[in-house]
Symmetry: C2
Subunit: 358 residues, 2 copies
């Protein structure tokens, strides 16, 4: 049978009214979407997350929703993702919500906060404790749907060339620590700077900076910082960095319901998977660092330093809450949730970890 005849018959079957047609017949259209990600091509873990999501969508949809991933080398605008998705230039984006704090301060609270929730606590908040609904409220006015996009787990406090013993040691310290965490440290006299990732190693080696934070063993190992900075400090500033999937609302609404479900669930599974992958790579890479570079010392800031950082953080968060009712609403939700969740974490995993040291 000629394809044209087949097409005509198919037209008759599908187009004429009054049908009792299985709903799959109406939705055989192939949707070709594009996703812009902040990361460069083949960036580990972060980039695996978008590939993982797109692959799940393709398999589950039987090829009816195909998502092409453009990395930063292609779209040339690592921090243009929000606008790409808002304008519909891309149907989807993968980035981190706190990058948009200059556009809307309330986007900042959906990534992580200094002294905030751990990853399991934060996933519970997003999916069961009202976090997703608050995120929807913030992003709605931009025509963007925002979803959790993968967690790095607790990020390390950074690589330091000198040990931090007192608050004095932070005075004038040049540190690559972008975003809100940098603002917190600035309160204590740190000079936060931002430097492109490709120049970080040299900047640290040549003392252009004294310290830097990146992610944690999962992504730090390949950067080589352990070769030139012997002090690796434990984290306080990003206890549960959650990346973000963004979807153009109109594009999402143009999908049939089954593809909407497939997309949402693939994003969720990929977000959870990234936390598992981060745990995995962190464990392996930490072991490598400790075996091959036994001179690296893992330290925690002394108590008075931590106290001062916490105080500066509380002050800045209180200022946000005072300035904007939506900020207050989100911070109130996070703080109330974190209080109950932390009590449970302390009696469960923390008590357990402590007892394993006996």
């Amino acid at each position: 049978m000629k394809q044209s005849i087949r097409s005509f018959l198919l037209f008759l079957v599908i187009a004429l009214p009054g049908a009792n047609i299985p709903s799959v017949f109406a939705d055989d259209k192939v949707y070709r979407w594009r996703l812009a990600e902040t990361w460069g091509p083949n960036f580990p873990i972060f980039g695996d997350t978008t590939k993982n999501m797109a692959k799940m969508v393709e398999e589950m949809s039987n090829g009816r929703l195909l998502i092409r991933i453009d990395s930063a080398n292609r779209h040339k605008s690592a921090l243009g993702i929000f606008d790409f998705v808002k304008n519909g230039q891309y149907q989807m984006g993968h980035s981190a919500s706190y990058y948009w704090k200059g556009k809307d301060i309330n986007t900042m609270f959906f990534t992580t906060l200094p002294f905030g929730m751990t990853t399991p606590e934060q996933f519970a908040w997003f999916y069961y404790g009202g976090g997703e609904a608050l995120m929807k409220e913030v992003y709605d006015k931009y025509g963007i749907l925002s979803f959790p996009g993968g967690n790095t787990g607790n990020q390390m406090g950074g690589w330091f060339r000198k040990e931090i013993n007192t608050l004095e040691d932070l005075q004038g310290l040049k540190m690559r620590i972008p975003g809100f965490a940098g603002e917190v440290l600035a309160e204590l006299g740190v000079k936060p700077t931002n430097i492109a990732s490709g120049e970080l190693y040299t900047a640290l080696e040549r003392n252009t900076i004294d310290a830097l934070e990146w992610v944690g063993p999962s992504l730090d190992l390949r950067m080589g910082f352990h070769k030139i900075a012997p002090y690796y400090y434990t984290g306080w500033h990003e206890p549960a960095t959650e990346l973000q999937f963004m979807v153009n609302k109109k594009a999402y609404e143009s999908l049939p319901a089954d593809l909407q479900a497939i997309l949402k669930i693939a994003m969720k599974a990929a977000a959870y998977d990234m936390y598992s992958q981060s745990m995995h790579e962190s464990a392996l890479n930490l072991a490598t660092i400790q075996t091959e570079y036994p001179n690296v010392k893992i330290k925690t800031f002394p108590e008075p330093v931590m106290q001062a950082i916490k105080k500066a953080n509380d002050k800045l968060l209180a200022e946000f809450a005072a300035k904007d009712p939506m900020s207050k609403k989100i911070l109130d939700s996070i703080q109330a949730y974190a209080k109950d969740a932390r009590a449970w974490t302390n009696f469960s995993d923390r008590a357990y970890l402590d007892s394993m040291d006996d």
Copy 2:
């Protein structure tokens, strides 16, 4: 157009060879599956997980894979799930792998182990560290595919009517603690018993037993144990209890590839979601217990007691490894993985939680 004419046209479109037809056309068949779960009807969290999975499958498949859930009241065999799925009586089951240790000792290691991994560590092991492949190896010979099925998080050590101060206090203690953890405590003189859940409260109240473990605040609150046992001990025996989805292998292979993907990803998302839900319910219910029953004391076993339990556990696990090469292979994988993962957990979340107390 008459339905009969439509059907005939449809037949021409689909049945004639040489077609370039979108593959969705070949798979419009509706698969009606049944899942048997160990739990009673509307059992919280565990039962929510099967409903969550089935709902995701229905939405993503556009109704092409429908899974009816039979709870224990219907199939009348809470611990018959393995056989139901093996025999193909049910296409799917939801239970816990360690229930099958009487059939195959190697099924026991895929739920949790005393002093074993935490939930994030264990998810990383399953999905990135080789755990799933080992589970496949164990279940393959039964024609069953087994997948992670949802995590309770760290389970509490149980409700005790008297405080445990020394190893003497464990001598002759009658405790409801089934499975391997009961065997470990038996080494220290505890008399482990199993009692049906509906009779637990009365057994504890009437001193038929001195102590019991159930799950944790997420599921203990509704049981009311806090009203009659003032000591709530932190956990050691089930740090990351993972439930299990089982799928009859032949039934799985009879599904088209897209439905296989939908099923697998829905099971994974539901497994992860259960951990978030457990965190959520634990946090809320712990707050309720602490507010409404301030007399409840949360305690950790003293160090010498914990040491003795650990020693007994190590001894029994070494016996398993000596008896069966596959047991050794699985335990070696778990122990090597747990070592590296724990080092990371200690430097990340644990150091962070400790610093929050400063």
